[in-house]
Amino acid sequence: MIKYTSEQLFDMYRLMVTIRRFEDHLYQLFLQGLVPGTLHQYQGQEAVAVGVCSALQPADIIFSTHRPVGHGVAKGMSLKSIAAEIMGKADGCAGGKGGQMHLTDVSVGMMPSNAIVGANIPIATGAAIGFMLRGEERVSISFFGDGAANIGAFHEGINLAAVKNAPVVFVCENNQYAASTHISLTMKIENVADRAESYGIPGVILDGMDVMAVRETAEKAVERARRGGGPTLIEAKTYRFMGHSRGDPGKYRSEEELSEWRSRDPIPKYRAYLEAQGIDPLTLASLEESVDERIDEAVEYALAAPEPDASETYLNVYAERRK
């Protein structure tokens, strides 16, 4: 039973392929020493960002993390603005001031991504409270990882959202690791979603490598929140194919584990699903080609973009009074 239009199905595929190839391209640039700062990459987790963001209305907003490229692309940011920001260029989405961990484009609802693990949870709750007070039927999404599930902000932010019935959906991307530390060392229980019971809200565990499953679950939770049914804690079991950040070879992970999860790569899985629905592989191939073109364009744009002028350093510390 396909309840999505082929346009929606294509869109999801386009976004997932874009994220994967864009991140792979950035990694190559890093190897060539062309990436000035750090890199926390999203390959392997594409189904979560795309599944959740495709379940949103345009006016809904997302709060991302130190690993924001997938969320930014899925929410509709331009590849140019992301690439330029990662390269520390003036035309970056934050003028080079934010950098890879601080991507933002309010015009598409991508709120500033946060390099403090877990800090976006109470912030997303506050945005949702803001929507309630303004009578706006908007929903806010908080993305975070398995590591974030053990920090105080997770507990306080979700509990506040629960008692205020705030229109926020908490999406935990459990990729099994917080940097080099496996989740078995940081929690005695297996599922982050089981912690939803402490706050009296629904907790849902799902296969984060299945974009359709993610989208359907996200749609239910987002509509529930929009209708005043309060927050949901979604735990997407997933995996990152790269190290934690730029130079991390990831030796703390076994080869077997990595290849086992690679075998569940969300993109070939979804491509097989599309083909099973009778979609012509050539269409997908041409779509992938257009993705590559857009990525090359964006990277060229970023590499050619000017550095921010030194005088920018002193601007935007304080916001001016709006009349």
Partner: protein
């Protein structure tokens, strides 16, 4: 020439009035904190929000669980989507539980987003020693002065309190609003032991005292005393006793530490050539250190004596009365320090 309608107010009443008027005028303004709106409750730690939940309801005067990181974090999030939250810490010292949301989020959000997002919020911190010990007495100005992106306000009287809070609510940036416990003017059971309760005629309408301004509260040609909150009163008392010895001490109320009106201070010191900074918090790396360092550079050639600072010793705040009294700068100590200054230090 329309006469301004005024009425007698304590600090608590003036602060409450500023919030009430702001909420009447602007639907984006709302309050959140612990015990601030509970029916028949406290009206916040020091009665400042008493009655507001009856007038505006429990959504806009929102009681929260005991979660300071979520209180500040939610204020940041609400401000980012167009609201103008006023969050209360029941005591200023509890801000450290939510410090990341203030220092790494609220203060830096506008800059890190290159101006795309701003965080128009007020965080109210009841400060000052009140016989409750080291975790219920800190003033904390210096932490906020060292955090770019925050504004720091510390009124000493009801008129300034109402005007500065009203201006802070309308500011586009996160404002740390310090309120001294011994100046609230609480009545009955809520009256603080050692409180000075300044009551003043305050305009009933809304008005702004602009952030970034300081106020000379006493003229004097011989020495300039810079003080804030409770220390303004002890400095004025010291100036009165100095006047009896023919020493004319100027007192400037440092009601806003960020932005800082350095020109007013420089002009004042150029005339008196001697400066004493009086601060309730610990001496080392206090707000007084920054003022002394700035003026020591700006008006170096006008100084007839070194800039002196009188502050609490570098100890946590003790609880017992005799120890708290020893800890706090007193009027006598201020007089003594001025004498030292006049003898060329």
């Amino acid at each position: 020439m329309s006469l301004v309608n005024t009425t007698e107010m304590t600090m608590a009443e003036a602060l409450r009035d500023a919030m009430r008027l702001a909420m009447q005028e602007d639907p984006r303004v709302f309050l959140l904190g612990e015990d601030i709106g509970i029916k028949d409750g406290f009206g916040g730690g020091f009665t400042v929000t008493l009655g507001l939940s009856d007038e505006f309801g429990h959504e806009r005067v929102m009681d929260t669980p005991l979660s300071e990181a979520a209180i500040i974090g939610a204020a940041v999030g609400a401000a980012m989507v167009g609201m103008r939250p006023i969050a209360e810490m029941q005591y200023g010292d509890f801000v450290f539980v939510g410090m990341d949301q203030l220092v790494n989020q609220a203060a830096k959000m506008h800059y890190m987003s290159n101006g795309q997002v701003s965080v128009p919020m007020v965080l109210r911190l009841p400060v000052g020693a009140s016989r409750r010990g080291a975790q219920h007495a800190q003033s904390t100005e210096a932490y906020w002065m060292h955090t770019p992106g925050l504004k720091v306000v510390c009124p000493s009287n009801p008129y300034d309190a109402k005007g500065l809070l009203y201006a802070a609510i309308r500011d586009e940036n996160p404002v740390i609003f310090l309120e001294h416990k011994l100046l609230y003017g609480g009545k009955g059971g809520r009256k603080e032991k050692t409180s000075i309760d300044p009551i003043m005629e305050v305009p009933t309408d809304s008005y702004e005292v602009p952030l970034g301004t300081l106020k000379e509260v006493r003229e004097g040609q011989d020495v300039t005393i810079l003080a804030n909150m409770m220390m303004v009163y002890r400095s004025i008392a010291a100036a009165d006793s100095l006047a009896e010895e023919g020493i004319r001490a100027q007192v400037i109320d440092m009601r806003c530490l960020q932005p800082l009106d350095l020109d007013l201070l420089s002009e004042a010191v150029k005339k008196t050539n001697r400066v004493l900074i009086v601060e309730e918090d610990n001496l080392t790396a206090g707000w007084g250190a920054e003022i002394a360092a700035r003026l020591g550079d700006e008006v170096f050639y006008y100084l007839d004596a070194p800039i002196k600072r009188l502050a609490a010793p570098d100890t946590p705040v003790p609880t017992a009365a005799t120890l708290e009294e020893e800890y706090l700068p007193t009027t006598e100590k201020i007089v003594e320090a001025v004498h030292g200054l006049l003898e060329g230090g």
